[in-house]
Amino acid sequence: MDIGLNHFLLVSLLLFSIGLFGVMSRRNVLVILMSIELMLNAVNLSFVTFSQFYSLLSAQVAAFFVMTISAAEAGVGLALIVIISRKWPKRNFLFERDPEKEKKY
Amino acid sequence: MDLFEITINLIKIAVIFLLMVQMVPLLVWVERRGSAFIQNRFGPNRIGPLGLVQNLADLVKFLCKEDFLGHKGRKGFFYAAPVLSLIPAALAFGAIPLSTPIKVEAFHWLGQSWGPYIFHFQSFVMGIGIVFVLGVSSLAVYSLLLAGWSSGSKFSLYGALRASAQAISYELALSLSIVGVILLFNTFSFSEMVTAQTGPLSFHFFGEVVTISFLPNWGIFYQPLGAILLFVALFAEANRLPFDLPEAEAELVAGYHTEYSGVKIIMFYMGEYGHMLVASALMVTFYFGGYTFWPFLTPEKINLFLSSLSPTWNSVLTAFILHGVFMFKLLFFLWIFIWVRWTLPRFRYDQLMDLGWKTLLPWALVNTVITGICVFLFA
């Protein structure tokens, strides 16, 4: 088997879909942030793949930028989560299961 | 790649890993005797000559300890953490060249001719060696975090959080202080860096070549500030004493390895000493000429001295002599690590963060900018 462009793109596609599924259907904020990181990683993989197979270095520069921005995004997102959880400790934004509430229904 | 080359390479990887692991008992002994020497005590001196067998007795003690896990602990992570602590140090040490490559001429053996080979004196060769070492050593935080969290103890968790915050903060200063050397020697690979450092100190100064014939061309003469910053940051990365906040005995029992016993704690110690080894090797390679010692011990001079031998044996002997030079420099820096540990007291946590963010980082930036301007003007 020859490993070519479409194999790498397939991996990238599957990774992106896993991330998308996580973003759309998980309830926990932290997991949603992680799934966004997964999607960004998948895009990076396709950038680097295209840059290597078509010998376009600009795509690698784009991948570099994506990495930087996603690091910044993770920093801001985590800071916001920590602040929200500190400010409203009663608010159940991480969607923990509340046994008393479930008994009512 | 034929059978001979693959076999030798596998043996080489195993030997370099064992070299790292086998340094640990030696270093523990040096640490004990050295601390005793500094504090005017005797140290271990009952078991064996000069107390050399003391470590073996301690090992037996560790092996007989009970394997304990608190009831709030998480079993899988608890056992994985000590193993994880060994991996980054081993990988990083494998990427650093310990001597010149060995060139083997073509020869006949077992009725077959074996082609010429080049064996590098390191586990694996990478073009981007410096980035690789930085990346791999930044993974060491995971083992500390996992160890602290999975123990299910407050002291462990505090130790782990301190350790990870400290490691992330000092990584910035560490990488930035290396940028100066990278700019200066214009390469990402360790062996090119060492090659650039053999020879007399010579640099361009406004178009003229200035040569100072009695000094070697080491990085320390160009980057004294960078060397100091890197050394301090490496101390913090290795969690050694002025920066051993994660395991401050007076505050946190034993930090992230409070709950560990037996062989697992030995693995943590191996990881710590492995970090020390990597740190010393980085200092030697970046700032002190690596495995060469101009003007006496350079590859060319030793080759000339051994020219009566066959080329293969000449190359092998040269590599081992230069490896001895490297180990000598390495041991010198390891001794400085031990010396500092028994000399300086521990920082307070806010002092540690101030030092990292308000002192090391700005000075590293200044160093980078000045180096860039000098390289642009003079080269």
Binding site: L5, F8, L15, L57, G75, L94 | L161
Partner: protein
């Protein structure tokens, strides 16, 4: 190369799946870190050595450590979280998206990209990459620097104002 590709891509996908489907947040975060390391391996066999190194330093070494730290600070128990939201539509929508992507990419990749598959991959030189970064894309690079500074200041301000609110 084939074996390495299969190994690394299996690791990447396994890590991603566990990240999304596991109940325990710590396990999720650690698997995401592993997935990113394996992705660095994929970059390495593609020949983009510098990007692989940056991936290890930035993602696995900094971003994921931050994630793991925050998750450990929250200290959630694994039984205590509801896994998925109740609506069925997001799942169906992402499934359709996946099918659409596969349907869109497969015909294209089977015909268009076939001749390029056998091309030999050259490792890119870091010098070329950095030259491009500092000449053609220098403006974007500077803007990124400003963005990072902004975010550092912003996060510091957020945390500080929070502290004042609680103490006053």
């Amino acid at each position: 190369m084939e074996i390495l590709f299969i190994f690394f891509s299996a690791l990447v996908l396994y890590g991603g799946l566990v990240t999304v489907f596991h109940r325990d947040l710590v396990v999720s975060a650690l698997h995401l870190a592993g997935s990113m390391l394996a992705l660095a391996g994929l970059f390495f066999i593609l020949g983009a050595h510098f990007i692989a190194g940056v991936q290890v330093v930035v993602y696995a070494g900094a971003v994921m450590v931050l994630f793991v730290m925050v998750v450990m600070l929250f200290d959630l128990k694994k039984e205590d979280s509801v896994l998925f939201s109740k609506g069925l539509w997001p799942k169906i929508a992402s499934l359709f998206f996946l099918i659409g992507l596969i349907a869109g990419i497969l015909p294209l990749s089977l015909h268009l990209f076939q001749p390029l598959a056998a091309q030999v991959i050259e490792p890119t030189s870091t010098k070329e990459l950095s030259r491009l970064l500092f000449t053609k894309y220098v403006l974007a690079f500077e803007v990124l620097g400003v963005l990072l500074l902004l975010i550092a200041v912003g996060v510091a301000v957020l945390c500080r104002s929070q502290k004042n609110v609680t103490t006053s």
